[in-house]
């Protein structure tokens, strides 16, 4: 078996799902956030350089820059000139108790939806559509729980 090692100690590697319909830069943003939640990335870790990502995924460098800018804007990473992009913030995991409360609320809503005659597919469609409405209008949605350095360093 051949294992392609990430070059020069980059902590994570990205992968793309061309069929997902999610824009490429968003996939990178999500994978960094996911890695932060799961602890694969911690403050001080270096993200792969633009060239490393581009050489691995065969994508336009601007796509990577855009993803890193967005992560910077969220206060999760910061670029250090000549050194790379480093993790600065962490993503707070929603505490278990909060999750249980949320799930109870959702269960009540599901009862109402089923009583109204929606089938599981209809419920999924409705939920996805409502979620999309929220996430496409960031001003209306709740800000994601992020605890970062809080600054938005100018894009290099």
């Amino acid at each position: 078996m051949v294992i392609d090692k990430a070059v020069d100690g980059a902590s994570i590697v990205f992968r793309l799902d061309p069929g997902s319909g999610v824009p490429t830069y968003q996939q990178i943003v999500r994978q960094v956030q996911h890695a932060l939640r799961l602890g694969y990335l911690e403050p001080g870790d270096r993200l792969p350089t633009v060239k490393e990502v581009v050489a691995a995924l065969a994508i336009n460098p601007n796509t990577v820059l855009k993803a890193y800018r967005e992560l910077e804007h969220k206060g999760l990473v910061a670029g250090r000139p000549g050194q790379g992009t480093f993790v600065e913030g962490t993503l707070e995991v929603v505490p278990l108790r909060d999750q249980q409360t949320l799930q109870k609320g959702l269960a009540r809503w599901l009862d109402t939806a089923l009583e109204a005659g929606l089938d599981p597919e209809g419920i999924t469609a409705l939920f996805t559509s409502a979620l999309n409405d929220r996430t496409q209008q960031p001003s209306l949605g709740k800000a994601p729980r992020e605890r970062g350095a809080g600054h938005t360093a100018a894009a290099s």
Partner: protein
């Protein structure tokens, strides 16, 4: 600086109009995809840009005003022609030596690094390499000249998926590292979205679409709604392509980002492949920078 600028550029071969009045301003340091059906004039435009052909009418300049074919332009432009022509009887090492002697500036180390990373043996004859490897050699040679503008004619058309990926990976790494401008033609539209950030669509020798990919995707939406209301909805939109069923119609239209769809219509994003195909099918609709075309022109296919 513009990588390529054309004004009413036309090229006729006998009675055939290969290019017909193309006006373009392609910014530098972009990865530009030139797409269109066979015979649209893609290769002609590329040949005019590198100085292999001269215009019948109009003008073309490259890299901020240089004339294609001039010494200045030749040294700053790299060109990989269709089917990556190399001397099949030369070994890779001899090919490198040949290019070194023919080029004013040549970075042997860079070319060798690329080739060794691809595990292409230097003593092998070019003709013994696979199509994918020959394409890689052409690219390594072109990049070894450190061009400011790299022009490629259908570079990945004949490559298998793995070779295609490797080829694009090297090209994109060079873009990231050296900030070169890239212009390549392609008729494989599905993979362009990941690679290019600027799009030019040629059709029947004319420029049909030219613009930043992100802006193009932002400014086009798919509207889906009842066919009964389609005419009314289309009247308020710049429709590129309408696909009508008996009951449901979907319209691909150019809109402002904040545009609210007509009552009863759902709106969704489009993708580059869908957008390119819609324009090519409609034949007459255009999306060009600068003053907007008149509504009647845009609505031609509705």
């Amino acid at each position: 600086m513009n990588a390529i600028e054309t004004r009413s550029l036309s090229k006729r071969y006998g009675r055939t109009r290969a290019l017909d009045g193309c006006t373009l301003a392609i910014p530098a340091e972009r990865v530009v995809a030139l797409v269109g059906p066979n015979g649209a004039g893609k290769t002609t435009l590329l040949h005019l840009a590198v100085g292999l052909a001269s215009p019948t009418d109009g003008s073309i300049t490259v890299l901020g005003g240089a004339l294609p074919g001039s010494n200045d332009a030749l040294q700053r432009i790299g060109f990989v022609a269709q089917d990556t022509p190399l001397y099949k009887n030369l070994s890779i090492a001899d090919t490198l030596r040949l290019v070194a002697n023919l080029s004013a500036s040549w970075d042997e180390a860079s070319a060798r690094t690329h080739l060794s990373r691809l595990e292409i043996p230097l003593d092998r004859k070019v003709g013994q390499l696979s199509g994918g490897q020959q394409a890689q050699v052409s690219l390594a040679v072109a990049l070894g000249r450190h061009p400011e503008l790299l022009v490629l004619d259908e570079p990945v058309a004949r490559l298998d998926p793995l070779a295609r990926h490797d080829f694009m990976a090297i090209l994109m790494a060079a873009v990231a590292e050296e900030g070169i401008s890239v212009l390549f033609s392609s008729h494989v539209v599905s993979e362009l979205e990941r690679v290019c950030d600027y799009l030019v669509v040629l059709n029947h020798g004319k420029v049909q679409v030219a613009g930043d990919v992100e802006e193009l995707l932002e400014s086009h939406r798919i509207f889906t709604g009842p066919t009964a209301d389609a005419a009314a909805a289309a009247a308020s939109l710049l429709v590129v392509q309408a696909q009508q069923g008996d009951r449901q119609t979907s319209l691909l239209a150019r809109t402002a980002p904040e545009f609210t769809p007509p009552e009863g219509w759902a709106v969704g994003p489009t993708n580059l492949e869908e957008l390119v195909l819609a324009y090519l099918r409609s034949g007459t609709a255009t999306s060009l920078p600068g003053p907007r075309p008149s509504n009647s022109e845009m609505r031609a296919s509705a």
